[in-house]
Amino acid sequence: MNAITVENVWKEYGDQIVLENLNLSIAPRAFVALVGPSGCGKTTFLRMLLGQERPTRGRILLDGAPLPPEPGPDRGVVYQRYSVFPHLTVLGNVMIGTELRGARLLGRRFGAARRALADDSRAMLAEVGLAGSEDKYPAQLSGGMQQRLALAQALMMKPRVLLLDEPFGALDPGIRADIHKLMKRLWNEVPMTVVMVTHDLREAFTLATRILAFERLRDRPEERLRYGATLSRDIDVWPPRIAGRTTLYDADIPPGQDDLTAFGQVPGTTRHTGAADHAAHSPLA
Amino acid sequence: EPKSRFKVGWSIYVGWMPWGYAADTGIVDRWAEKYGIAIEVTQFNDYIESINQYTAGAYDAVTLTNMDGLSIPAAGGVDTTAVIVGDFSAGNDAVILKDSTSLAEIAGRNVNLVEFSVSHYLLARALDSVGLSERDVRVINTADPDMAAAFQTRDVTAMVTWNPIVSEIAAMPGANLVFDSSDIPGEIIDLMVANTAVLADNPDFGKALAGIWYETAALMVADTPEGAAARAAMGAASGTDQAGYEAQLAATRLFADPAEAVAFTLSPDLGTTMDHIRTFLFDKGLLGAGAPSADVIGIELPGGAVMGDPANVKFRFDATYMQLAADGAL
């Protein structure tokens, strides 16, 4: 369940090769952090996992079967942008997923069901720190608030695979720590596999079970078109984190604090699997 | 085949206003009831559309001029019979020159008119009368509702049109009527025509039409308060008032008396007129693209005489129903 296998995947945009010969497999319930230089194809990779784009070559399997060729409720996403519906209020944005899933005819809930859903949604909004903004429209939110709203919207669905594209990039450390906690809790409670793009290695080590680095091995300007990025490092975070089990390790998340001077040592060290290690990966659970 | 529901179309023009009045005041229904049929009367603002609808078979009878009857439904293969000869134009159509009182000075000018309409015919007759031909002028097709405005522009120096536009234009400074339909009396005839086949199968329809027409016409020419009220109503319906309408009537030779209409229809002049007209239409190529001569379409005159191809009679004058009215046999 939820295992993702990527086989010989290439992606090209017109003449440009973006991703080159990707081979990897992601264990069920893994929490993968995807890092790599800006523009190397991380978003493109997520889009392919989502089913929004197709590999130019190669194939992607979900639990051994080819990935459904279209996005679906099994895979949730938080985009770098365009992630919320401008015509719904904050509350409406969080409620819509459940409404769409439950009411196949009108996509709306009424009466008691609606009130219960609204309560759940408010609780989720409070968790991401948006309590009090329920009736605003996305255009009235700040950048970070929109990002949190998108996250809340995706989390409400508890998808089997959750794809996050720099979901915490616009958040201050305080809120970010709160949301890290929320993410951990959900990842432990809900049977989901998470793939998260981030530029913050501290964050990667705090949350992930495994870190994948994409890199363009030939990156002189004149080579950029002809060579794509590929998987350059594949690191298992140590000590292993296992979904559903709290480890000593997880206890050391710094408390939500805003002491401007406090920077603790990053938790987690790495077991380096080598730059050329494209071999299939041993599942963690 | 015999039927009991009939559709009649009429368009807004001085000589046809009685049809609207008759429909409004229940005269139509009364006569229809008398013959056990139903007649639906539709008012058209657009004359051509009314003829088109008739030609296409959506209407059983329609009001039109003798020339349009020949060139449109008849040339279009719809066998058409003139049931009622309502009136002929005696001044309702006119050639108007700007800043010139002599018809001969039309030579070399642009002439604005509705191409291939009775105005075009009137122009041809007018040019004939002063020894000119259409080659001496340039015809510009102009839509009738816009004639009055068009006349006020500098580009327009000669125009042929009909009432009520003629009287509007005549009132403008510099306008001179140099030729009008009273110079060719009896040639531009306003008719109520019906589909020949329908009429043949349903003589009651023809009778009802005649009954309606002569009752209404009698009312409108009467010098009584009722007559005045009828003329006022018809004036209002045509967008003017009683005085305006009576002025237009003055330029119309209305046959309120069926006997006069019968006499006019039976007179040999009608044959001469139709010959003029079919020659004109043939010249303009309006009797069909491949027509070898003006004889392609047969025109049956009262009494059975046929002008043109007897195997292709498409336009007929029939005095039967007017005669019935004259005899008081309706």
């Binding site: 996005p71 | 004639m147 109503a233 319906a237 967008g239």
Partner: protein, 272 residues
């Protein structure tokens, strides 16, 4: 300060906005006075008093023939046709425009024929319309529908297709079916645009209404204008045209207000 940043105040806006109208009115009065001085019987640009009289006759005096107050009965006749036409056009547009905008299959099937239909000059095919539908109300309403629907459909489907792909994908990950995407994601986001393009089509709708009424009718604003046109009765035509324009402008403002009321989020996003 740059001109682009100079925002006139309320009063200035009111003044500026009415200026062109004032200029038009003054230009009319001058031209009219000049023509009437030339020829007191001139009917092209009547004096204001003639308008007053014509309005009095049309709006406040019962017609001798029918006993109706012509302006009001004409208005009513025309508006019912117009609204019926626009209502039907909107309904068709919602179905077809959404289908074309949302479903690639429907786009392949219908987009070409709709583009084609929007280019056919409907007035040239009137005889067929009348034969098919008769000369009653149906054909008048149909002409309005035929005249405005292709535009509404094209506009709506363009707007639907211009939604960011990410928005649709997002909805799919939230378990929306095609139907629910159309209903809850696309429809509400294109509705403001539909209202706007309906506003833009008010002018054409009136045009087709007038054209239909000019062919065959016995009441209606277009009928009246057509009827008195051959007498060059500009004293009636001008007030009727002004009245039509006012009606259209009122509907325009009404639809604009409706849009603001129903879609408060529209216009928040970075728009000025």
């Amino acid at each position: 300060m740059r001109l682009i940043n100079r925002h006139p105040g309320r009063a200035a806006r009111l003044f500026l906005g009415s200026l062109p109208f004032l200029i038009l009115v003054v230009a009319y009065l001058v031209a009219s006075a000049a023509r009437l001085a030339d020829n007191p019987g001139d009917k092209l640009l009547p004096a204001l008093s003639s308008f007053a009289q014509a309005i009095e006759t049309m709006a406040l005096t019962p017609d001798r023939r029918t006993g109706a107050y012509l302006l009001w009965s004409d208005t009513w006749a025309s508006l019912t046709r117009l609204w019926a036409g626009l209502g039907i056009a909107t309904a068709i547009t919602l179905v077809m425009g959404l289908a074309i905008g949302v479903l690639p299959v429907m786009r392949a099937l219908l987009a070409p024929v709709v583009a084609f239909a929007s280019m056919v000059p409907p007035l040239a095919l009137l005889p067929i319309l009348f034969i098919a539908l008769g000369l009653g109300e149906t054909s008048k309403i149909a002409l309005i529908v035929i005249g405005v629907t292709p535009f509404l459909i094209r506009d709506l489907s363009l707007a639907a297709a211009a939604l960011p792909r990410e928005m649709i994908v997002k909805a799919e990950t939230l378990s929306a079916s095609t139907w629910l995407i159309a209903l809850r994601v696309v429809l509400p986001q294109v509705m403001p645009r539909l209202l706007d393009s309906l506003r833009l089509q008010l002018g054409p709708a009136f045009l087709f209404l007038i054209a239909a009424e000019a062919i065959s009718a016995d009441s209606g604003l277009g009928y009246r204008i057509f009827l008195v046109r051959r007498y060059l009765s500009m004293d009636i035509i001008f007030p009727y045209v002004a009245w039509i324009t006012l009606l259209a402008v009122a509907m325009d403002l009404g639809l604009g207000g409706l849009r603001r009321l129903m879609f408060p989020w529209w216009g928040l996003e970075g728009r000025r």
